[in-house]
Symmetry: C2
Subunit: 201 residues, 2 copies
DNA sequence: CAGCAGCTATGATCTAGATTAACATATCAT
DNA sequence: ATGATATGTTAATCTAGATCATAGCTGCTG
């Protein structure tokens, strides 16, 4: 789905990863969010007709579609459902805020560390990660475009993290070797994700 | 209102400016949004109990409070009102997305230009700006904290903009001397703001 | 109307991260 | 297997913007 489209349905990611992004001149791209199974990546289209960004899959993915019509009917008849969906869009915005803090005020190292903490917890919450091991099916260029960094610098920071025995990252699998330390570097506070409490230490 | 608070009411800004921000270690601050009269700067608190950021006024301000209780009652009984408020939070998120693009992929000059375009149009929409002249009651340090720049660099870019006869900025009043050119530099597309159509050229 | 505090302005220096350019390693299609 | 194309890695160089240091404003308080 592209910037400028006027979709008539929302989708729900059933498997695989997706991302939202915007393009600027000279090939500049900003990835706005990563999406994993269980996410409704374009709920906003229900109330904001034309897309102000694009949506793409990053892997093979399975997607369910629900028409705006039926969603509107549902939310009009069941305010509780409307509230739940509304809340989801508010958590989405909370993640945007955290990313803004990262891009404005965190170093490259802190930014990458923070993103890894975020992705791990989100994956864990839907049962796709455990033992500090999770899939990470994105390229280093994708990470750069998400964090406002060049692919070269992303690579260097990853090497540095490996050097510090913080993580390993091979064949699209991230292993967090020292969760406590990674949290500390990132100044990561998971409360913005609004996940059910679990062992996060 | 502070990060971590659990407010029992939402507010509506009647006059003056406010901003939302987050703090990091070593005094780093990221301003997340500016708010002008007419904005409900903490609507998210209706569905997300604890604040993940702080809210402060930037000027003298008048504020109306509406209890969560009455808002919940209102939205449960009138799905149309819920939809309108929900939509407002979605536009809020669209502005976050645009700021993320700025911080990740725009130069300091482009970022400042973009912010000026955005603020001017938002003020114009509520009748607080015309003839390319609007109030801007924030310090250069505030602009820096909003855009991920140092106050020194903000100052230098402002000088550059004055040098190009793009703007004047004195005693908290911004005058856009060359709107077309400012738009062009910023790669600004106003559609994300979802304002009623007006003369924007 | 002096004096202080918060801004704005400007120069000098430094640095995190960008850019460019190889080259190496996967992954994939035939 | 074999080339083709997307990734990852590393080094050398460059630069936008940070940091540090002053000084000049502006406006407020006593």
């Amino acid at each position: 789905m592209r910037d400028g489209d006027r979709p008539s349905q929302c989708c729900l990611l059933l498997s695989g990863w997706a991302c939202r992004y915007k393009l600027l001149s000279e090939g500049r791209r900003q990835i706005l969010s990563f999406h994993i199974p269980g996410d409704p990546p374009d709920l906003q289209s229900l109330h904001i007709q034309t897309m102000d960004h694009s949506l793409a899959t990053l892997t093979e993915a399975k997607v369910a579609f629900i028409s705006h019509e039926s969603l509107r009917d549902l939310t009009a008849r069941f305010p509780g459902i409307a509230a739940i969906l509304w809340r989801d869009t508010l958590v989405d915005a909370a993640v945007f805020r955290e990313w803004m803090v990262g891009m404005g005020r965190r170093s490259a190292f802190e930014r990458i560390a923070h993103l890894f903490c975020e992705l791990y917890l989100k994956l864990q919450a839907v049962g796709l990660a455990e033992n500090y091991r999770c899939p990470l099916p994105v390229t280093q260029a994708d990470l750069g475009d998400a964090l406002g960094l060049s692919n070269v610098h992303v690579n260097r920071v990853l090497q540095e993290m490996r050097g510090k025995s913080l993580i390993t990252l091979r064949s699209h699998t991230l292993v967090i070797e020292d969760w406590r330390e990674l949290l500390r570097f990132a100044e990561f506070d998971p409360s913005y994700l609004r996940l059910k409490k679990r062992a996060m230490a």
